[in-house]
Symmetry: C2
Subunit: 265 residues, 2 copies
Amino acid sequence: MIDDSAPPHVRRWAIRVEFDGRHYVGWQRQKSGLSVQQLIEEAAYRVAANRPVSSITAGRTDSGVHAAGLVAHLDFPAEANITAKAVRDGINYHLKPHPIAILEAALVPPHWNARFSATWRRYCYTILNRPARPALLDGTVWHIRQSLDLDAMQQAANYLIGWHDFSSFRAAACQARDALRTLDELSITRQDDKILIHTQARSFLHHQVRNMVGTLALVGSGQWPAERVKQALEAKDRCKAGPTAPADGLCLMDVGYPENPFDPS
Amino acid sequence: MIDDSAPPHVRRWAIRVEFDGRHYVGWQRQKSGLSVQQLIEEAAYRVAANRPVSSITAGRTDSGVHAAGLVAHLDFPAEANITAKAVRDGINYHLKPHPIAILEAALVPPHWNARFSATWRRYCYTILNRPARPALLDGTVWHIRQSLDLDAMQQAANYLIGWHDFSSFRAAACQARDALRTLDELSITRQDDKILIHTQARSFLHHQVRNMVGTLALVGSGQWPAERVKQALEAKDRCKAGPTAPADGLCLMDVGYPENPFDPS
């Protein structure tokens, strides 16, 4: 059993983060380019008077994926005796001009862990469903020209809700031990020329949301009957499901915990 | 009386346009930089087999102001015998990679004029009202850290609704003959950490929306009592009202006509 608690010489801060993912290789540090993690840790280093700060996230987003409410924790040196406001505003100051913002910060107990304490993750995937290409929403939507059938998509989505082996919707690179997950929500609504796909689960497999959306789009465009999604799920074979939807449309909206660390009460 | 009808050798097309204004000097052609008008006319020139196409807009947006539904008309050579779909898709093709998109195109009678036939314009101004600076909405909102009092802002806004001399809210450079306008709507709502100010009128003076928003923000932050907006209006003096809000938060949402030219019926 790994002990994920903060060592005694650090103070652990939970942060809620918003970022425009199109400029980064994703959350996690990589040699191939600039990551959100690196930028936040470097800004926190400045706030901690040039002492290293490490971070753990509740959700490693891929390159191009956005966040409106990613939660992570930062381990600051205990001597850095600062307020929540100073953590938030100080990191935001040093993150400029990057489109990354700390929305909230809160001191949490040493055993609290952004990743392992989380009980649900919530994503929204946005399809811009109109003939004209995106202008105002460029980079934050998947553009599909052909009008999609929402009723058929929701019917197909309903096959995926509940406890299943999601092997058919899991990236080859996925490192999870098994593909058994419970999908709590997969709801599809239209808002003007946008289609919003809201989904929530305790945890998701690598690329699971984008693979589900890519498959639902096949149903929406009439290329697949809704029932074929049930067969794809039961096949437990990635080749039987649809393609991976682009990263642009995906946004990590929120992460849930037994007790909200940011709750001021 | 000026005759704004299309000459007999042209066919007039109404277009609805979406664009991200932060990259341009505004709608209108200017020597100082790239305008939306220039880019659309150049793309239309290609669609019209290299013959000039001229345009008139219902609303000249300033530099940095966005549009979700600006309406303009384009005068194509009559020999360019093309469909509405070809106008829309052709111009969009040639506009790439600019964040400007023609949402709809419709053939209109020669006497129809995007500017003079319009009976109302509708704008939305977005304030991001939270401590953290914008990340996902950077460039499309006015960021105000201090929590604003919406009730006070709405009370102040109500003084501006109706028929008034809006000299106090008019840019020095405004070319309108007089400042008498009827403001039909100025409503303020909160949506998560955003404050949306929706406003509609037959027509607006230059900078009128931004000057009203800049003044309402003084009320929202408690620097002004709501009643001072009534006094500012009655003074008919630009110096008595608040500052001009930044262009970033403003978006031209829609333009109305006695008959919707894009109505397929």
